[in-house]
């Protein structure tokens, strides 16, 4: 599903990723771990073509995303859901936040409603649809972002520190929702340094350090033992 071949990314003289090779199969659930500045966000940004590599090839699905025009980049992003640490919710009702995505795509009112009902049920905030963001807790806001990310049933879900601003209970709930989405045939990559959730989930763990992949474990934990 996702493949990085000899990918190098530098900012000025600083090498963030140094000849990285990585393969993630369809419907896999992967944690990207490593200290701050180790390049977790950079890998996610490369996959959405927010950044381009200095060298190496990147495949999402069957296609190499190195050479895409503007329209193809837009299409790529339609098939990838993205969740941030800072929630990036607009100051409108939750319903409007979700509808925003679909309105941009010119979706019909009826279909917008159906899709929002589906994700609201999946993520579990039907009762909050007409609240404003400031009326929600951090965990609830992050649920909104998850709902927004999956509203078009993307094949891939990328989450950058999704529990970074949440308390342990909310973190747990969020990671369970993401896991549920994964079971629903979605490839998931979570960049995190939340030890608790990595250790709890026992999924594949890819460790980054100094620009290299230093470990890649099935059913791994946050620290290598």
């Amino acid at each position: 599903m996702i493949r990085l071949r000899n990918v190098t990314k530098t900012y000025q003289d600083f090498v963030v990723l140094n000849h990285i090779n990585l393969h993630i199969a369809k419907d896999e659930f992967v944690f990207l771990v490593g200290p701050t500045g180790s390049g977790k966000t950079t890998i996610l940004n490369l996959l959405t073509r927010e950044e381009v590599p200095d060298a190496g090839k990147i495949y999402v699905g069957m296609t190499s995303i190195n050479e895409l025009n503007e329209r193809q980049v837009a299409n790529l992003r339609k098939n990838i859901g993205f969740i941030f640490q800072d929630f990036k919710i607009l100051n409108r009702t939750i319903y409007e936040n979700l509808a925003y995505v679909l309105k941009i795509q010119g979706e019909k009112k009826q279909i917008i409603k159906e899709k929002i009902d589906r994700v609201a049920e999946l993520v579990g905030f039907e009762s909050k649809l007409y609240c404003y963001p400031h009326q929600l807790s951090g965990g609830e806001q992050q649920k909104v972002c998850i709902a927004r990310a999956i509203i078009n049933k993307p094949h891939v879900l990328l989450a950058d520190e999704p529990t970074g601003n949440l308390d342990p209970d909310a973190s747990l709930e969020i990671i369970q929702i993401i896991s549920k989405i994964n079971l629903d045939n979605t490839t998931v990559i979570v960049a995190t340094h939340d030890k608790a959730i990595v250790d709890l989930m026992r999924k594949r763990v890819i460790g980054l350090h100094g620009g290299n992949i230093v470990r890649d474990q099935q059913m791994g934990s946050y620290h290598e033992f």
Binding site: E50, R71, A74, R77, L90, Y100, I104, Q105, K108
Partner: protein, 298 residues
Amino acid sequence: MNFRVIYFLIDEAINSIKQNSVMSFLSFLTVTISLSVLAMFLIVFMNLNSMIKSIGDDLNISVYLNRNISEDRVSQVRDQIKFIRGVKSISIIPRDAAWADLKNKLQYQRDIVELIPGNPLPDLIIVKLKSIENTNSVLKELSFIKDIDDIRYGKSVVNKFRSGVKLFNFVGGVIVLLLLSATFIIVASTINITIIAKEKEIKIMKLVGATNSFIKSVFVLEAMVLGLVGSILAVVLINAGYFIINSKMQQVYHFAYVFTKHMNIISLNMFVIVIGLVICLSASFFSVNSLLKSIIKK
């Protein structure tokens, strides 16, 4: 892009104008003021120029011929003048007819008239010009013709009027240009502020697969709404003002019809709206291209 997307974009533009109310109000105000002044200037400009034209219609050059020339020579000179470029028509007042006419008018001063030997009057050719603009060239041509004794025309009045109009056109042009530049700058900053305020929206739009041109169109549309509303306000203002002044003037002066005769108020309105849209569009392209580049790339 379907109609629902267009509806969405217009809705977003109107919402963002509401949210950014201070800057939007400033934009409306400057668009309206500068377009109103532009239109006022255009109205006066068109009227002054049509007045110049109508004065030109009435402007005659009087050409007095030498007294001691033959009738053949008089008709030669007449033909020469007739074919000068810019001359609309000529009429000739023969010296004999003029003298008889004068004697007739002065019949109560007959004793004085009797004292004058022969006919003291010259032949007079009255030259009508096609336009006041031709005055100088016609005068120059006339100076090459022999047997002309004297040329008279409303020199100082015409020149003063013309330089007055020129000054008016220049000052008006500068004022309008300044106002239009101010409009450009204020609309561009309004769009700049919107772009900065909408950084989150831009990020989200990108991640859900909106193309750069789609994102740009959000802001261009907002500028278009600003321009359209501003110029429609200006048009309303212009037409109301025009109507009031016009009806007041006609009560007082009968010649006020001049102010409506040469005006096409509908094309003026269209022109104002088009100028408003063009300014706002170019202002938005300016900000979108300079500012959005950095945000889209981030």
